[in-house]
């Protein structure tokens, strides 16, 4: 890089400063949410307490009484973990077969899977409610939420895994075959150890998507299986009366995922672009 001309003093200061300002502006709403969560509901809407106020933890302390936070958190954790797990259980063999034994139709099948993601969920909302309520009797159960979250994310999971598996040299798998390892053995002994990083980042991203899902989880549950998305959507109404406590519960709802997200930036790019951008 020695050849690139020396930057002028102006651009050495100006561009980094602009980068910092941009980052602060973009991060500001999140900061404001966390900041407001330490104000009382009354202080939160008063201009005179915009930046100077006595911080309080009462919003967090009352979160359980106000919103029954733990129940929603528990549902979010359970449904996201199991949906991710089952998506991997179904996705790994599928992606494995597609990556190491592709047929002529593999490409089309992959594209078709991706296209199912584009189907507007709203188009089938009523039939889904109808089916699960009247026929299957599984409306508002964690089981239903897990199944739906798994299905919604399955195309992305398969795509991501496929893009990771594709990069493992076929020869390694062939060598395993020579040694008389059967297919399941191949997956367990060779593929999973080799693609561990890819599988882990797929799991992480799927978990984040499950956690943030806000269409099916809200509309297919009422009380028993409602997740954090439902909690927030259900409490949007009080328009300003409860900014403090709403901020606290929102912070508690996004906190774990935002922090998790910080650690998987790299995997996010690779995963979401299916390996096309590295």
């Amino acid at each position: 890089m020695a050849i690139v001309a020396e930057q002028s003093r102006f651009s050495r200061v100006f561009w980094p400063a602009l980068a910092w300002i941009t980052a602060i502006v973009i991060f500001f709403p999140i900061f404001w949410l966390v900041f407001t969560s330490f104000k009382t509901d009354a202080d939160a809407v008063k201009p005179e307490f915009l930046f100077t106020f006595t911080p309080t933890f009462e919003n967090y302390a009352n979160m359980v009484d106000n919103y029954d936070y733990w129940r929603f958190l528990k549902n979010s954790v359970i449904t996201s973990v199991f949906a991710t797990f089952f998506a991997l259980v179904v996705g790994v063999p599928c992606a494995y077969a597609m990556a190491f034994d592709p047929s002529r139709s593999t490409k089309d099948v992959l594209m078709w899977m991706l296209s199912t993601k584009m189907l507007p969920a709203a188009a089938v909302l009523y039939p889904m409610t109808f089916l699960t309520k009247n026929f299957l009797g599984i409306y508002d159960t964690k089981f239903l939420v897990i199944v739906v979250l798994m299905l919604v994310n399955l195309p992305i999971v398969i795509w991501m895994l496929f893009s990771y598996f594709k990069e493992i040299p076929k020869e390694i798998m062939e060598a395993g075959k020579m040694d008389g390892v059967n297919m399941w053995g191949e997956i367990k002994e060779i593929l999973i150890p080799l693609a561990w990083g890819g599988i882990a980042s797929t799991a992480l991203l799927t978990f984040i998507f499950c956690w943030n899902e806000a269409y099916w989880t809200v509309r297919l549950t009422t009380t028993d299986a409602a997740t954090l998305s439902s909690l927030i959507e259900g409490n949007r109404a009080p328009e300003g009366l409860f900014f403090g406590r709403l901020s606290a519960v929102s912070t508690a709802a996004i906190g774990p995922i935002v922090v998790l997200g910080w650690f998987c930036q790299k995997q996010l790019v690779r995963g979401l672009t299916f390996g096309a951008v590295k």
């Binding site: 690139v4 561009w15 980094p16 602009l18 980068a19 910092w20 980052a23 973009i26 991060f27 709403p29 999140i30 404001w32 809407v45 915009l50 063999p93 599928c94 077969a97 490409k107 594209m111 899977m113 991706l114 296209s115 199912t116 584009m118 189907l119 507007p120 969920a121 709203a122 188009a123 089938v124 909302l125 009523y126 889904m128 109808f130 399955l154 195309p155 297919m183 806000a214 269409y215 927030i232 959507e233 409490n235 949007r236 328009e239 300003g240 900014f243 901020s247 709802a253 996004i254 995922i257 998790l260 997200g261 930036q265 996010l268 790019v269 979401l272 672009t273 096309a276 951008v277 590295k278």
Partner: protein, 312 residues
């Protein structure tokens, strides 16, 4: 090859699950779209159960087709998705180029930049529409109020007072109404998805061929022509992927629309369907089928566009 069978078997669960997930509800929607079916009706109670005897043919489709609300929703859907995509790509490119250099605190800057992407959509909407955009209690209201106060004080000041008395009083904008709620939705989703574009463009910029660039400098290439002829072509693939992924996610935008306007503002197709489905299932299903057709047209177009770069 015996393996072929096994390979099929391994793909079967995923394919069957997705096929069921796609086809079963869709077939029911298709059926409902051809019958008269409402959830509550005191005049025609026979319409309240889905039955083949209430066959309506293409009646629901005609009803929807001739409904202004439907076309408005189609327009809103396309307007919202296109605006978000254009904004995120342009902003994402600008910010990625800005951040793609070494400077003090770049790690923190990147962490701050990416954070909005992980915020739950429901929280995103609640946060923006209440705490930031609310015309009275939000930051918008407070800022406008503060500005008006400052101007009012200056109007009484000697010498410059006459100048400030020419200023009109600022009026905060309500983002829950039908003219503005789409703007609010576009704003909050752009905020959430620009980080995604930044991250992808930045990764792509880092993999740019530096030697090629150095050679270009030796050949006397200017900064702009280097950007135009080297960087932009290099970014073509990430841009197309960002467009596709966002089209997938934003066509079905719902939580944001619901929280921002609760039906008083701009509605997109998914929202309109949800609204119809509170009573007129027949019309909601017909609208749903139209939405599926629209999505399929887009899907074919987008997948064609990027299938090559994905399959390499």
């Amino acid at each position: 090859m015996a393996d072929r069978k096994l390979s099929r078997l391994m793909q079967a669960p995923a394919v069957i699950l997705l096929l069921t997930w796609m086809l079963v509800p869709l077939c029911i929607t298709l059926f409902f779209s051809f019958i008269r079916y409402v959830l509550a009706s005191s005049i025609r109670p026979e319409w309240t159960s889905p039955s083949i005897e209430n066959w309506r043919g293409f009646g629901n489709y005609l009803f929807v087709w001739n409904n202004d609300g439907f076309w408005l929703a189609v327009y809103n859907s396309i307007f919202i998705v296109t605006s978000i995509i254009v904004l995120t790509v342009v902003l994402g490119l600008a910010i990625a180029i800005l951040v793609n250099r070494t400077f003090p605190g770049q790690g923190i800057v990147r962490v701050m930049l990416i954070s909005p992407f992980f915020v739950m959509p429901a929280v995103n909407a609640v946060l923006w529409i209440n705490m930031i955009l609310d015309p009275v209690l939000g930051l918008q209201g407070i800022a406008v109020g503060g500005l008006n106060e400052v101007v009012a004080t200056l109007q009484d000041a000697p010498l410059v007072g006459w100048f400030f008395s020419l200023w009109p009083e600022l009026i905060p904008i309500s983002f829950r109404a039908s003219q503005t709620s789409a703007i609010a939705v576009i704003l909050m989703v752009t905020w959430q998805w620009t980080p995604f574009a930044v991250l992808i463009f930045m990764t792509s910029l880092q993999s740019e061929d530096q030697q090629q660039k150095e050679a270009a400098i030796l050949d006397g290439a200017g900064k702009w022509s280097m950007f135009r002829f080297l960087t932009l072509p290099h970014l073509a693939r990430p841009v197309s992927i960002v467009v596709m992924i966002q089209a997938i996610f934003h066509l079905s935008l719902y939580a944001e629309i619901e929280i921002v306007s609760r039906g008083n503002g701009n509605k997109n197709l998914p929202y309109l369907i949800g609204e119809m489905a509170t009573n007129n299932i027949g019309a909601a299903s017909a609208t749903g089928i139209f939405a599926v057709i629209l999505a399929n047209v887009l899907a074919v177009f987008l997948l064609r566009m990027i299938s090559k770069s994905l399959m390499e």
